[in-house]
C-alpha cells in the first residue's frame, strides 16, 4: 500500500485561529500562482474556497472565472479537524483524501498535521501519482528536464 504523505507544522497561535485561517481564509494564503489548475495555463488562480460545512465544496476559481472542483468536505470541526476528498484537475474518479488536524501544542501554539492519503484510489498508478504530488517524477525525469541538464 502506498504510504500517506504526512506533514506537520507548528504555528504560534491557537488551534481555533489556525483552523480559521486554514479553512475560512484559504484564498488569502494558498499559493494560487503555483498550485492550482490555472497554474497549468501559466496564470494564477483567482481564488480558492472551502464551503464551511460537511458536504461543502472545496474549489478553485480559475483565471478565466471557471470553477475547478478540488474536493468535498468530509469533516468540519472548527479548531480541531478538517477533512475532504482531494481530486483537483478532473480527477473526480480517483479521489484521494486530505486530513488536517489542529492540536494545542506548547505555550499558546498549535500543531497542524496534514495527511494526504487514499492513494489506492489510483490502483496501480498510486506510486506514480503520489510521486507526482507536484515537482513530481514527470518533471524530474521528463524529457524537458533531462534536456535542460544534459
Amino acid at each position: 500500500m502506498t504510504k500517506p504523505i504526512i506533514k506537520t507544522l507548528d504555528v504560534n497561535c491557537s488551534p481555533e485561529k489556525a483552523f480559521e485561517v486554514f479553512v475560512t481564509r484559504i484564498g488569502t494564503w494558498w499559493p494560487l500562482a503555483g498550485h492550482s489548475s490555472s497554474a497549468g495555463d501559466g496564470k494564477a488562480a483567482l481564488d480558492v474556497m472551502i464551503e464551511p460545512r460537511v458536504g461543502g465544496a472545496f474549489f478553485e476559481t480559475r483565471h478565466d472565472g471557471a470553477t475547478d472542483m478540488w474536493g468535498e468536505v468530509l469533516e468540519y470541526s472548527p479548531g480541531e479537524k478538517f477533512a475532504s476528498t482531494w481530486h483537483p484537475g478532473n480527477n473526480k474518479d480517483h479521489p484521494t483524501r486530505l486530513d488536517v488536524a489542529f492540536e494545542a501544542a506548547g505555550e499558546g501554539g498549535c500543531r497542524v498535521t496534514l495527511t494526504h492519503s487514499g492513494w489506492e484510489a489510483w490502483a496501480d498508478r498510486a506510486e506514480e501519482m503520489r510521486g507526482n504530488y507536484n515537482g513530481g517524477w514527470d518533471i524530474v525525469f521528463g524529457e524537458n528536464y533531462a534536456g535542460a541538464v544534459a
Binding site: 506533514k7 504555528v11 486554514f22 494558498w30 499559493p31 504530488y133 515537482g135
Partner: protein, 110 residues
C-alpha cells in the same frame, strides 16, 4: 537535503542509461561486471555511471574479496522522496506565513 546534492541526485537520474544502471542495482546488489553483462553498456561506461550515482548519494559500494559490490543507498531515496513531496511543503509555507503576518498585528498589513 542540500540543494547541491539534490541537483546531483536529479541530474544523476535524468540520464536514461544511468537510470537503468540504478534500477539494476536497486533490484539486486551487483558488481560492475555483472551489471555490464545485463545492460547494453560497456564495463567502463557502467563504472562511470556508478561513480556519478555514488557521488549523488544514490548507491554505495563495499568490498567482497577482490570485487566491489554496489547497492542502493536508501537514505538517498528518502531525501529525494521528501523533496518530491514538496507540494504540501509549499502550501504549508504559505499558511505559516499568513499566521505569522496575523500574529504580528494589523500594523504590518498593507
Amino acid at each position: 537535503m542540500t540543494n547541491a546534492l539534490l541537483t546531483d541526485t536529479i541530474t544523476a537520474l535524468a540520464d536514461p542509461t544511468r537510470r537503468a544502471v540504478f534500477e539494476a542495482v536497486f533490484r539486486a546488489p551487483a558488481a560492475v561486471g555483472d551489471l555490464a553483462k545485463d545492460l547494453p553498456v560497456s564495463r567502463p561506461a557502467v563504472s562511470q555511471h556508478l561513480k556519478v550515482l555514488s557521488d549523488a548519494g544514490l548507491v554505495t559500494a563495499h568490498a567482497e574479496g577482490t570485487r566491489r559490490i554496489y547497492s542502493i543507498r536508501r537514505e538517498g531515496l528518502t531525501e529525494l522522496r521528501d523533496w518530491l513531496d514538496g507540494f504540501w511543503d509549499d502550501v504549508l509555507a504559505g499558511f505559516a506565513e499568513e499566521i505569522k503576518k496575523q500574529e504580528e498585528g494589523d500594523s504590518d498589513h498593507d
